[in-house]
């Protein structure tokens, strides 16, 4: 009985507020837009009994998904989200790895402080961290002022409202997610392996590629997925930094819902986005499983 109560409460909560809402999204993605409240049809009419349920199911169709496939905007947004997420993940890896490596090589008494410095931005508002780049990257922003003053450029660069700004924003906000797993992999590494390699005549660069990188592989993979998966559905960064040039599916969904008020299409966009996300999520789970087994 005690055990039943323990399971039932969180389970009921998640069923009601996670699974059922998702089924509603699925259902509305198969409905048609209508000028009504709520703005879609059909609605389930239980008072009509079995007839009503049958009428309800026969009115559902895949029109919205066909629409997504035929309209350029949607598949271009999916492709561009994946592309941006992929490139941004690589960039975050290139920026994050040296930081994690430096932390792992720092003296022991420095490490808690370095750790705290990496985690601190994570606790500060995401919105504010993205916002802080608007002042830096705008045409009359601090970066352009600096470059003009240095004489590197003679006319201000346009960075804000371009994909470049989106990449900068993603690398900046997701950096801790990349640094922490790589750092924890590097920290566990046995330093005597490198000494052995060098004693046996391996150069330091070669020892890095042959020993350090393979041993930090699970950290690298975990970090990459921790950046890649959330970035695909990202909304705030492309909206604030990307301008109208940057297509990302999270932003398309938002606009479909709030600006066009087309709930069925917004729901269909959500369903397809989830289907796309399943692949990286499963791969990530497999990597986690593997690293757990390696630990034991």
């Amino acid at each position: 009985m005690r055990r039943f109560a323990l399971i039932a409460l969180p389970c009921a909560w998640l069923l009601a507020l996670f699974l059922v809402p998702f089924l509603i999204v699925l259902k509305i993605s198969l409905s048609d837009i209508a000028l009504a409240i709520p703005p879609y049809t059909p609605t389930l009419d239980l008072s009509a009994g079995w007839q009503g349920i049958r009428a309800f199911f026969s009115a559902l169709d895949f029109d919205n998904f066909r629409f997504l496939a035929t309209d350029d905007l949607y598949w271009k947004s999916y492709i561009s989200s994946l592309q941006i997420a992929f490139l941004a993940t690589l960039m975050t890896l290139f920026v994050g790895y040296p930081i994690a490596y430096g932390m792992a090589n720092a003296p022991d008494h420095w490490r808690p402080t370095l750790m705290m410095l990496v985690i601190l931005p994570f606790w500060t508002s995401f919105l504010i961290r993205v916002y802080s780049w608007m002042g830096i990257l705008s045409t009359e922003g601090y970066l352009n002022q600096l470059l003009l003053w240095l004489g590197v450029i003679s006319t201000p660069l346009t960075i804000l409202n371009t994909p470049t700004a989106v990449y900068i924003g993603i690398v900046y906000t997701y950096l801790p997610f990349m640094v922490l797993p790589i750092y924890s992999a590097l920290e566990r590494m046995d330093g005597s392996l490198l000494e052995a390699a060098e004693d046996l005549g391996c150069s330091r660069v070669k020892a890095f590629w042959l020993i350090t990188v393979p041993l930090s592989k699970t950290g690298i993979i975990a970090g990459c997925f921790l950046v890649f998966i959330p970035v695909i559905g990202e909304f705030v960064i492309p909206s604030l930094l990307g301008g109208s040039q940057t297509l990302m599916i999270g932003k398309v969904l938002w606009e479909e819902f709030f600006n066009n008020r087309d709930w069925p299409v917004a729901s269909a966009v959500a369903v397809v986005l989830l289907l796309i996300l399943i692949v990286p999520i499963v791969l990530f789970q497999m990597n986690e499983q593997k690293s757990r087994e390696a630990d034991q």
């Binding site: 055990r3 323990l6 399971i7 409460l9 969180p10 389970c11 909560w13 998640l14 507020l17 996670f18 699974l19 059922v20 809402p21 509603i24 999204v25 509305i28 709520p38 040296p98 930081i99 490596y101 430096g102 932390m103 090589n105 720092a106 808690p112 705290m116 410095l117 931005p121 606790w123 500060t124 508002s125 995401f126 919105l127 504010i128 961290r129 916002y131 802080s132 608007m134 002042g135 830096i136 705008s138 950096l175 330093g191 490198l194 998966i229 959330p230 559905g233 909304f235 705030v236 604030l240 999270g250 969904l253 938002w254 819902f257 709930w263 917004a266 729901s267 959500a270 986005l273 996300l277």
Partner: protein, 271 residues
């Protein structure tokens, strides 16, 4: 083999400069006299003055705080229960579904979580406001809490609890007097995480908040869409300051606690 080569020092310096410069610039320019945010016109604290008098921001901050307190507390209770189920309940009918529902919200894009909850609230005719935001925030943050707590529970030595039961403790007392104090650090960090996630959330709150309730991130969002503003810089500075003080205090406390624990262990060995 720990060595801090010039390469390590450079990458750490550049890395932390990249992480912190944007925030430092934001803080410095919040004390700028000029309304033009990118032109320095002398030191002034006037934007803090106008911010404190801005009733809309104060109201939004109050709503945000209420939502965060309520949702993180409920999420901590539910999340800890879920963690106990995940780690200890063994096999039961629907276990796969249960763990799926715990892990899925962690990777679910916010736009989808927000959209689905909004469609639910409209479907059952629930008026949107503070209450619906609390429901939404509790749902996703309880999953984060349960992950944090279950990672601690996995390493928990159950024989301590069994000893308490053998000595006549009821199940609830054994949990309250033995298990809870040991997993408390994880429960507290779960609560803090849930609290921060709630304070921070823009997307889910935008979907689930009605016209009657505006949270601080929604308010910030609607004013920064139009560009950089000195008032928002001032507000950001205050928020960064609170977080910095909080994180530094928390890390000092944990450091002192671990030092004390080490001292206790040494004393126990020598005794």
């Amino acid at each position: 083999m720990r060595r801090l080569t010039w390469f390590n020092t450079t990458s750490l310096t550049l890395g932390f400069a990249f992480l912190y410069l944007p925030m430092i610039i934001l803080i410095v320019y919040s004390f700028n006299e000029s309304k033009l945010v990118t032109v320095w016109a002398g030191f002034s604290t006037k934007w803090y003055g106008t911010l404190v008098q801005n009733q809309a921001f104060l109201d939004a901050a109050w709503v945000t705080l209420k939502v965060a307190l309520a949702s993180s507390t409920i999420a901590t209770i539910l999340g800890t229960m879920a963690a106990l189920v995940l780690v200890r309940a063994g096999r039961f009918y629907g276990r796969t579904l249960f763990s799926g529902m715990i892990y899925a919200p962690l990777v679910m894009p916010e736009v989808i979580t927000g959209l689905s909850l909004l469609l639910l609230f409209i479907g059952i005719g629930l008026d949107r406001g503070i209450f619906t935001i609390i429901l939404a925030h509790t749902t996703f943050s309880m999953c984060f809490v349960s992950v944090v707590v279950s990672s601690r529970l996995v390493t928990f030595d159950r024989s301590l609890e069994e000893a308490a039961l053998d000595l006549g403790c009821s199940h609830f007392d054994a949990f309250r007097l033995v298990t809870l104090p040991i997993i408390a650090p994880a429960v507290i960090s779960g609560w803090l995480l849930a609290f921060t996630l709630s304070l921070d959330d823009l997307v889910i709150a935008s979907f689930t908040a009605g016209p009657s309730a505006t949270t601080l991130p929604i308010k910030i969002w609607s004013s920064i869409r139009l560009g950089v503003s000195p008032e928002i810089n001032a507000l950001s500075t205050i928020m960064i300051g609170i977080v910095a003080v909080g994180v530094i205090t928390a890390s000092l406390i944990t450091k002192r606690a671990s030092l004390r624990q080490q001292a206790d262990e040494r004393a126990a060995v020598h005794a």
